[in-house]
């Protein structure tokens, strides 16, 4: 075991052409990840034609690294411009963008880059540890648990908008839940609120909605307000000291980092739970476990660390069912699975017995790829961070173009551009009126998941599914959270301890 493990690492780093390919993959993955709307799924799809003809190990390492580092650079635009590239990045925006506005872009970047690197590595470790117990753990989670986990995520809305904003938060959350019902009804197969518009049959495009609710309103307000994103001027802006202080935040919050990475990896491991669930659950967890939750949404560094560790940690996790069951743990992995077949890798139980060396090579590729990505980003973010000091009027047109391209490319439906404009108006309205917008994304992301799995669970067990052992654990967690939320909001003598998320 140990021999295979380190043998794989040695052969990986000592093969120049694989390391070269990996470097290319890291650079490409980072570049593509910066573009909003182009996630890991699309970048692998674009890369598939290139792997024809590569040998098995090289091709697999290339694609996996490309996919793994994608999320690492997605956070750059989330933090600097408030533009999330996808559902998971939206959680990073909540605290990352306020930090950039306070002139602390470098600190936020330092923390988030390191956090995602560490998250990716811990994810790979969880992967390695989980191999022997994979089967029973995965088989523990059925549609009943998927429903309750989605519900748990939805109940975090209570923490994202408490105090004077709880009603507004609930309204926005329900608005998101309502929009998640657009599309094919999972029970009857009837299109709902879609009419003859086929592009709505699969639901509202998440990328479009996220860009419209977060990116466009931020850009509009930047353009109308004038000045630069950072309220602090350039000379007090970027410094390596600030960057390093951001890096140091990760070991300072080591316990949170470990918890969120592991949660991320485990969620990634369970096929059927969407990737964005990980980032939002961990953000909620960071808020709820913090002693000073009122700082969140205004630039709490934990709010950057938690979702980033989670979303990179889940990559290691989601590789597990992909390799050993041939069942992809995320949409990106579904594409990767197709590519693996092209390379001649037949996923299945035989991976452990016949191809253990390949498995270890892939684990190491995750670790080494993440390290390279962190190194590249920490060196280069100096020049990127400068952009937050550029006058917004020069920046906004370019960013809006990228947003539009990202919105179109992610689903290749021109109708989504119309949706983008409509939702942007709503998002801008929310922003001007000071209503929280994050509950909307949670509702939209988790609503569809909750509905489909509730339906399946009821078909399978009727209402008795609530009495399954793991269900009871999850239910008690939800109840506990709600009680805690109530207590915090209505605690006598201390007015509105809840935080006010304005992003």
């Amino acid at each position: 075991m140990i021999e295979t493990m380190f043998g794989a690492l040695f052969s990986l780093v000592s093969t120049p052409h694989i390391m070269g390919l990996m470097l290319i993959a890291v650079v490409c993955g980072l570049l593509v990840g910066v573009m909003p709307g182009i996630g890991g799924k699309l970048s692998i799809a674009m890369a598939i034609p290139f792997v024809y003809g590569m040998d098995m190990v090289a091709g697999a390492v290339f694609l996996l690294t490309l996919h793994a580092v994608n999320g690492t650079s997605g956070q750059i635009s989330s933090i600097m411009f408030g533009i999330p590239g996808d559902g998971d990045d939206a959680a990073t925006t909540l605290d990352g963008y306020p930090l950039a506005k306070q002139g602390q872009a470098a600190r936020a970047l330092g923390a988030s880059i390191t956090a995602s690197g560490v998250g990716g590595i811990i994810g790979a470790v969880v992967f390695a540890i989980m191999i022997p117990v994979l089967e029973p753990v995965i088989l523990m989670f059925s549609p009943a648990e998927f429903f309750l986990i989605a519900l748990l995520g939805i109940s975090f809305i209570a923490f994202l908008a408490s105090g004077s904003k709880i009603v507004k938060g609930l309204i926005v959350g329900f608005y998101g839940l309502m929009l998640s019902t657009i599309g094919m009804d999972p029970i009857t197969g009837t299109p709902r609120y879609a009419g003859d518009m086929l592009f709505l049959w699969d639901g509202v495009s998440l990328v479009t909605a996220v860009l419209a609710m977060f990116a466009v309103p931020e850009m509009l307000s930047l353009a109308t307000k004038g000045g630069s994103i950072s309220a602090v001027s350039m000379d007090r802006g970027f410094s390596y000291r600030q960057l390093l202080s951001g890096v140091a935040e990760v070991p300072r919050h080591w316990w949170l980092v470990i918890r969120t990475s592991v949660i991320g990896a485990v969620i990634g491991m369970i096929p059927g739970l969407g990737g964005s669930t990980a980032a939002w659950l961990c953000y909620g967890h960071a808020v709820q476990s913090s002693k000073t939750p009122e700082r969140f949404g205004k630039g709490a560094i934990e709010g950057v660390i938690a979702p980033e560790t989670a979303s990179n940690g889940k990559e290691g996790g989601s590789l597990l069912p992909t390799l050993f069951f041939g069942i992809p743990g995320s949409s990106g992995m579904a594409v990767l699975l197709g590519a693996f077949l092209i390379l001649g890798i037949q996923p299945g139980a035989t991976m452990v017995t016949k191809h253990l060396d390949l498995v270890w090579t892939l684990i190491w590729a995750l670790v080494v790829g993440n390290l390279i990505a962190v190194g590249i980003l920490l060196v280069s973010c100096r020049w990127i961070a400068v952009l937050t000091f550029v006058n917004g009027r020069m920046l906004v047109p370019f960013i809006l173009i990228f947003v539009t391209i990202g919105c179109f490319v992610s689903d290749v439906q021109w109708q989504n551009l119309v949706v983008l404009v409509l939702f942007s108006a709503i998002g801008y309205g929310f922003q001007r009126a000071g209503w929280p917008r994050s509950p909307f994304v949670i509702g939209l992301v988790l609503g569809g998941q909750a509905e489909a799995s509730l339906h399946q669970a009821l078909q399978l067990w009727g209402y008795s599914f609530f009495l399954r052992p793991l269900s009871l654990v999850l239910i008690s967690m939800i109840v506990g959270l709600m009680v805690y939320a109530f207590y915090r909001n209505f605690r006598p003598g201390k007015p509105h301890a809840g935080m006010e998320v304005n992003t």
Binding site: P49, D196, L198, P271, A334, G338, L341
Partner: protein, 334 residues
Amino acid sequence: MSMHILHKVIFGAATIAAMAATPTFAQEGAEFFNGKTVNYIVATAPGGGYDTNARLVAEFMQKYLPGSTFVVQNMPGAGHLIGANYVYASEPDGLTFGTFNTGLIYGQLAGDPAIKFDLGNMSWIGKVASDPRVIVVTKDSGIESFEQLKNSKEPVKFASAGVGSASTVETTMLVKALGLPVEIVSGYNGGDDQLAMRRGEVQGIIASRSSFQEFVNEGNAKIIAQIGGSESDVPQLSSMTDDAEAQKVIALVASQSNISRLSAGPAGIPEDRLQALRDAYTKATTDPAFLEKAKSLGLPVDPKVGDDVATVVKAALNQSPEIVTFLQETLKKD
């Protein structure tokens, strides 16, 4: 010219007659594609079996249409409808065609208003595979044979994909027609169905053989009946019932299983260009390199070209009113 014919004789005996009669004709058609870009539409997201197959077909068709460039374009959504509608509505100049699930035929038969195409009118280029359907039950279900399933006292739970998908339609039709004590749990997409079978929350599924062979080989489940295909290790479902209506439903599903991974274009592609496309398709799907790649990808290959496919499709569309009513009831939206 003789070289040209000789060249073709090497490939596909079935098409010799058609080609020898129209070599110059097809030659003119083939010249049209020189310097042109062909859009090959795939009605699914990248990465799945459809996509892999499509990219392989496109790669080799490009090889046999000198000077052409094939661009594979994914148009996922609405259960292959977006892609199929797009193909049918595109210009019939031979430069746009694609692949989608033949299961859409059920929707067309039932008169689904969202379907904006007529499969009977499409310009059929060919199909790569036959993908027989099988009834699979898990080891833990304790069911060993079709008879046992049929006589089960307790309802047996079967997994299927989303409501309205070809998999759910086929499962519902067969269960109804055969009067099986099966409860269908829908909403399992991708590999979720295999996971659900491992968890034991469902006991069986009606699915394509190629996607479940590995699962069965690993000892998780057993195939108890098959529809279509030439394998003889499993009894054919049609041999296990005397009911006339059930036989018709089985025949309809069997005809579908025979035309899997198809390529078709909009109605009215000019004869010579269509012929050139069909020729290229024949050469592509019989190329040894193609076969080798398909084998390494685990894609079943059993090609048919042009009119042969069109005949099967037209025959399948020609259903008795009873079957159509039956389908409409199956697909009925409550």
